[in-house]
C-alpha cells in the first residue's frame, strides 16, 4: 500500500434511492499510478478497482466541452476532467447543487 504521499483522498457524497441509501459521505484513497491524474480518472479508478457501485457520468471529452463531469468539487462547480490532482491532495466531491440527483454524482440533465 502506497504511503499517504502517493495517494489522494476523495470524500464523495453518495446516495442511491433505489437501494434505500440516503445521502452520506464515503471516503476513498486513490493511489497515483501515473505522474498526473484528473479527478475524473480518480473516480474511474475507484469504480474499476475499489467500488463497483460508485456512479458518475463515465464519459470524458477531456477538455471541458461536454459538461458531463460537472460536479461540486470542494463546494464549487467544476469539471472533474480538468481538476488535476497532486499526491497528498484531499477533495470533497458532491453532485451539482440545484439539480435532481439520480444516483451518487449523476444528476438530471437540463435540456
Amino acid at each position: 500500500m502506497k504511503g499517504e504521499k502517493d495517494c489522494v483522498r476523495l470524500k464523495v457524497l453518495r446516495c442511491n434511492q433505489q437501494a434505500d441509501k440516503p445521502a452520506h459521505q464515503e471516503t476513498y484513497t486513490v493511489p497515483f499510478r501515473e505522474e498526473k491524474m484528473s479527478l475524473l480518472q480518480a473516480l474511474e479508478e475507484i469504480y474499476r478497482e475499489q467500488d463497483e457501485t460508485l456512479a458518475f457520468r463515465r464519459y470524458s471529452c477531456g477538455v471541458q466541452y461536454c459538461n458531463s463531469c460537472l460536479m461540486l468539487i470542494n463546494g464549487k462547480p467544476a469539471h472533474a476532467c480538468l481538476t488535476i490532482l497532486k499526491p497528498g491532495d484531499e477533495f470533497e466531491v458532491a453532485p451539482l447543487r440545484g439539480k435532481e440527483v439520480l444516483k451518487d454524482l449523476i444528476v438530471r440533465e437540463d435540456d
Binding site: 463497483e52 459538461n67 488535476i84 444516483k103
Partner: protein, 564 residues
Amino acid sequence: MKARRRKEQAFFFQGGRAILTYGLTLNHKDADVLIIGAGGAGARAAIEAARTGCRVTLVCRSPIGKGGLTPTANGGYHAAVVPGDSPASHAEDLVAMGCRLNDRPLVELLTREALPQARLLEEFGATVNWKTPLRPHEPQMRFPRQLFVPGKEVMTALRKQLRALSNVTLLEDHLALELLTREGEVTGALIFDIRQGALLVCTSKATILASGSLGEIYSLTAQEPMGITTGSTGSGYVLAGWAGAELVDMEMVQFAVVPIRPALIREMRCLPWAPLLDAEGRDILPPGMGEYSHEAAQTIARALRQGTVSMDLRDRVFPSHARHPLAAQRNKHLQDCEVTPYQRPVAIGMGALYMMGGIHINTRCQTSVPGLYAAGEVSGGVHGARRVAGNAFPEMIVFGAQAGSCAAAEAAKKDALPEPPRSQVQAGLDYVAGLVQRGKGDIDPREMRRKTREIMGQHAHLLRSGAGLRTALEELRKLEKDLGFIKVSAGQGLAYNFKLLEAFESRWLLPAARIVCQAALLREESRGFHFREDFPLEDEAWQKHTVVRYRQEAWIGDVKPVAL
C-alpha cells in the same frame, strides 16, 4: 409518445414470473423509424427521417452530445472545394488510398454529397471553417480538401434541429441490447433503460444502426479520452451480426500514434507528425511518409517491439493558431497540463483509432437484412483498407442523411407495425434476470473486459500472424465460456448500475474481438492496415471483402467481391 406499461405480463411472457418477482419492468413503445446511436450519423438520420413526417425514436446510451466519439472528434471534414478539384478526383484518391478495397458506389455517394451536406450543416447552425490548408495533408491526395467543423459543433447544431422536431422521441440513457427479428426481418429492438433500470421493447417499421466503433477491444485506443470508456465496444456490429447481417472487412482496424502515459493526454492523437525516437534517440520514420498511413503505423509498430518509442515536440511551438475557438481552447487545456510532447518526450504506442470494416451497406444504407440500415463508422465498405483522415465526418453526415431518408421511405410503405416476437423478448428478459439472479457464477465483467483487451493486444494487434491469430481465437473461446457465469449483484439496484452495463458490453466486446481475429485470419495477404507477417505482400486475388456472418450460433467466414 408515452410508453405503455404492460401490467398483464403473465400472458405476454410465459414463465416470466421469476423475473417479475425480481421487479424488472418491461415497457413497450413503437416507432416508424428506430435509430440506435445518437452521434453525428444517428442524429443526422433522425432529422432526415423526421422531415418526412414519420415518427422517429432516437436511442442514445448517454445524454445526447455527451457520449461516443463525435463530440471529441477533431473536426476535419473533407470535400472537393478548391478550383480544379472535383468529387470524382476525391473519389479516385480515396479508392487509391483505400488500397482498392472500397465499394466504388459508396465512395461516389460520399464525395458527391460531402459539400452539399456541409452547407446544410452550416444552415443547421454549425460554424464551418471553409478555408482549406494550402497543401493536402497526405502525399497521395491531389488537392487540399480539409474543411473544419469540430464534433461538438456538429452535435450542437444537430441537437438544435432535433429539439424543433416534435415527431422525434429522444431516449437518452438507453442502451440497445438486441435487435428483434421476425421471419428474417428486423422489427425493432430490446432496449435497456439505464435511468429506470427497466427493459423496453421498441417495435419499428425500419431500424438504423449508427452505433459507432469497437476501439475498446484494445487497451490502447484513441477512442478513450483519458482512458475512460466512450462505449465503443462494438455493440452495433454484433447486434447486426446476430440479426443475420453481413459484416465486411472486419480485420481493417486503423491504428494511430497515441500517448501511453499519462492517460490524461490520451486524446492527443491528432498531433502533427513529429520525430519519433527509439530508445537510442534515433528517428524511426523515413521522411515523406504520410500521417496516419499504414506504412508509418507498421514501421512504428516494429520499432515498438524493440523498445520504447517517444514523441518529442520540444523543438516545435505549441500550435497557437487553431481553426476553431473550441480547438484553441482544447490546445490551451492540454498545454496547461504540462505533460504534452511539446513539454517533454512522451512514450507512445499504436492505439486503435477507427474501424474501416463493418456492417455492409449499399448506397441506400441497407444492410443484407430487410428492415435494417446502417450509417457512420459502424458501416463497412466506404473506406476500404485505409480511411483517409478527414473522411469519417462526411461519412457520418452523408450516410446518416441517406439512411434517414431511405429508412423513412421504407416505413412509409408499411401499413402495420410488426408484433414483438415473444420468444425473443422472453429470452432477452431471461438473460437480464439471469445476470442479476444467478445462483452460481461470480465472474466480474470488468475482468472480462480486461482479459479481452489483453488477448487482443498480445496476439491480434497491428502486426499479425496466422499463429498469433489462432492463439487469440483459442483464448477468446475459453473466455467466452465465462460469459454464462457473469454475475452482477443488484443490491445497488439496476439503474445506473455500471457493472450491469459492463456485463451487457462483455456480450459484445468478446464477439467483436473474435470477429476481428477471424477476419484477419481469413485475409491471407497484407493490404492497408491489415498486415500479416506470414503473408507480407498485397495479393491481387485478394481484392475482395472478407465477410463474417452469424449462422446457427457460430461466426462463419466468407468472401465477396468489391463493388467496382
